[in-house]
């Protein structure tokens, strides 16, 4: 069997000559020279952006606890204040920040646990509020009827078909398990009371 070009020192020829590429593709090669590429070189001390008229930015005012990575020396000069820590999820997140660096899986896994606790707690609390969660409408499922949901199932038209059979398990599973746990716990308490 003859050896292919892959086993020689030759670079395979271009499928299309440069002249044709230049004709066919508007702008072909305009950034061929690395000097025309804005992120070349990657780092340079003459790239400080205009407008930063300070060496160290003024500190954003704050009071009380603001979580931060223990890899930071201090609270950064500016930070977001969107959703401060609160409740049980806040305690879990605070543990993640105060105890574990970004290099530890425990840091991120605790934050993910905090996220799930936050969702369950916020959803349950919403049912006692003037704006309860609408678990159906918030998924945007209405779009299935207004944006070609059925049509998109034919051919390679949508992204979520391959693993969709898993979704009920993953979305509903934790709620079913939590419900099962709550019922079991309630029964146990009732039984203990009767026995007592």
């Amino acid at each position: 069997m003859p050896l292919t070009a892959a086993y020689t020192s030759q670079k395979p020829p271009l499928a299309e000559p440069v002249e044709r590429l230049r004709d066919r593709i508007p702008g072909w090669g305009v950034d061929l020279d690395p000097a025309d590429r804005p992120s070349f070189p990657r780092e340079s001390l003459d790239l400080r952006p205009e407008g930063a008229n300070w060496d160290l930015p003024e500190q954003q005012p704050h009071s009380g606890y603001r979580e931060r990575s223990i890899e930071h020396a201090d609270l950064t000069p500016v930070f977001g204040t969107a959703q401060p820590l609160k409740g049980v999820s806040g305690a879990v997140r605070r543990l993640a920040y105060d105890r574990y660096s970004e290099g530890r899986a425990a840091h991120w896994l605790l934050l993910m646990a905090g996220d799930r606790i936050d969702v369950v707690g916020s959803t349950l609390r919403s049912f006692a509020s003037t704006r309860p969660d609408n678990l159906i409408a918030e998924t945007g499922i209405k779009a299935e009827f207004t944006h070609g949901g059925a049509r998109s199932r034919l051919g390679h038209g949508r992204a979520d078909l391959h693993h969709q059979w898993l979704d009920p398990l993953i979305v509903a599973g934790p709620w079913v398990l939590a419900g099962f746990g709550a019922v079991t716990a309630a029964r146990r308490v009732a039984r203990l009371r009767r026995a007592g």
């Binding site: 950034d31 979580e67 969107a82 997140r93 969660d133 998109s152 038209g157």
Partner: protein, 382 residues
């Protein structure tokens, strides 16, 4: 004000929230006139990004009008029409001073491994984003730029992330004349990366995805050669076969955390959140290139570990380059490319969603219904 609000994985709604206020002398408040849903917003929407808090407003792609400025702001005035890079950056720290605006050290106390990003969880600093009527913009003298008169709103909003990120991805590949470039992912970022590879002198640009309508866009908009990976038993073997059995010179991962194509990878990351991301596209990139090639990663991954084939990357002598895009560095050159018609970002827009219908907008983008490539969000006060 009205704002998109996260309620849990796969659940968002519009709520009335307090209008943001100036919290630092160099803050501005911007009234959002147009925003976008990014593919990376889906990682938050699907619950994959740690420390995504209920009540968070997403949105790191937005433009608007300056509504209020802090006491030290000098470069912007109330009424200015501005585009805002998705990076929040101070302009003066060790990293900003060297051009690494996306790695700013002064804006994100929650993590040192990532800079500040609007509306992208507390892992990136805890800033609410622009899928709202108003948004707080820190370091108003550094990040935002007045939108040139000749530029359309839709081009401007796509220049806040998707377009510069795609273009940056092609740069990370260090493309030289005649290179064979494979782009994994035909979303807006992948499409721009493919188009940008031509601008940098590629000799052949190949795009791989699994949605035919996106591959069609890659052929017509980015003049690329396309392959649907679901039609091949082994896409890596096919990539080798069409590149003289040597492999491509450059590959770009424009997919990131929720890549499909490998059941175990997809389920353990996108569904069960046990990995920082599903590195299917990255692993295909590693295996599809020639020895000594460059890999560019602009797909977003979470901070947890991912099952990447580093052994192959090491043994092949690959160079892996990656970063969040420092958007403002790209703008002067990209403004020229848009003005000259070499890049036409607004042609990627497929949907315009009122803020009130944000839940449907996210579902359409997540499931890729109705030929969705890039959905924009129109705030009611716009």
């Amino acid at each position: 004000m009205k704002a998109m609000v996260y309620r849990g994985p796969y659940r968002v709604r519009v709520e009335e929230k307090p209008r943001p206020r100036l919290e630092h002398p160099n803050d501005a408040i911007v009234r959002v006139t147009l925003a976008a849903i990014c593919g990376s917003d889906l990682h938050l929407y699907h619950g994959l990004m740690p420390d995504t808090r209920v009540g968070h407003t997403f949105g790191h792609e937005f433009i608007g009008v300056v509504d209020e400025v802090g006491s030290s702001v000098q470069n912007l005035q109330v009424g200015d029409r501005v585009m805002v890079p998705f990076n929040i950056f101070c302009g003066s720290c060790f990293f900003c001073a060297r051009g690494l605006y996306s790695n700013c050290h002064n804006v994100n106390p929650n993590a040192t491994a990532v800079g500040g990003i609007y509306g992208y969880s507390h892992t990136t600093g805890g800033y609410d984003g622009g899928q709202a009527e108003f948004v707080r913009v820190p370091f108003a003298d550094v990040g935002p730029t007045k939108i040139p008169d000749w530029m359309s709103d839709e081009d401007a909003v796509l220049l806040t992330d998707a377009t510069p990120t795609g273009y940056f991805g092609a740069q990370l590949g260090d493309i030289v004349e005649g290179d064979v470039v494979i782009v994994f992912g035909a979303g807006p970022v992948g499409l721009v990366a493919a188009k940008s590879a031509w601008l940098m002198g590629a000799g052949r640009v190949i795009v791989v995805d699994h949605m035919d309508f996106r591959l069609e866009k890659a052929r017509t908009w980015a003049q690329a050669e396309t392959y649907n990976f679901t039609e091949y038993d082994d896409i890596v073997v096919h990539m080798k076969a069409i590149t003289d059995n040597l492999g491509a010179d450059v590959a770009i991962d424009a997919v990131g955390a929720e890549a499909d194509g490998n059941f175990l990878q997809h389920v353990t990351s996108a569904k069960l959140k046990l990995q920082g991301g599903s590195p299917v596209a990255l692993n295909w990139a590693i295996d599809s290139v020639r020895k000594g090639a460059n890999i560019s990663v602009i797909g977003a991954y979470g901070p947890l570990f991912s099952a990447v084939k580093f052994g192959d990357a090491m043994n092949k002598g690959l160079t892996l380059r990656m970063n969040q895009c420092p958007v403002k560095r790209q703008w002067p050159r990209l403004f020229e490319h848009v003005r000259n018609g070499y890049l036409r970002p607004s042609e990627l827009v497929t949907h315009r969603v009122p803020l009130d219908d944000i839940a449907e907008g996210y579902h359409v983008m997540s499931a890729k219904l109705d030929g969705c490539i890039k959905p924009l969000v129109v705030p009611s006060a716009a």
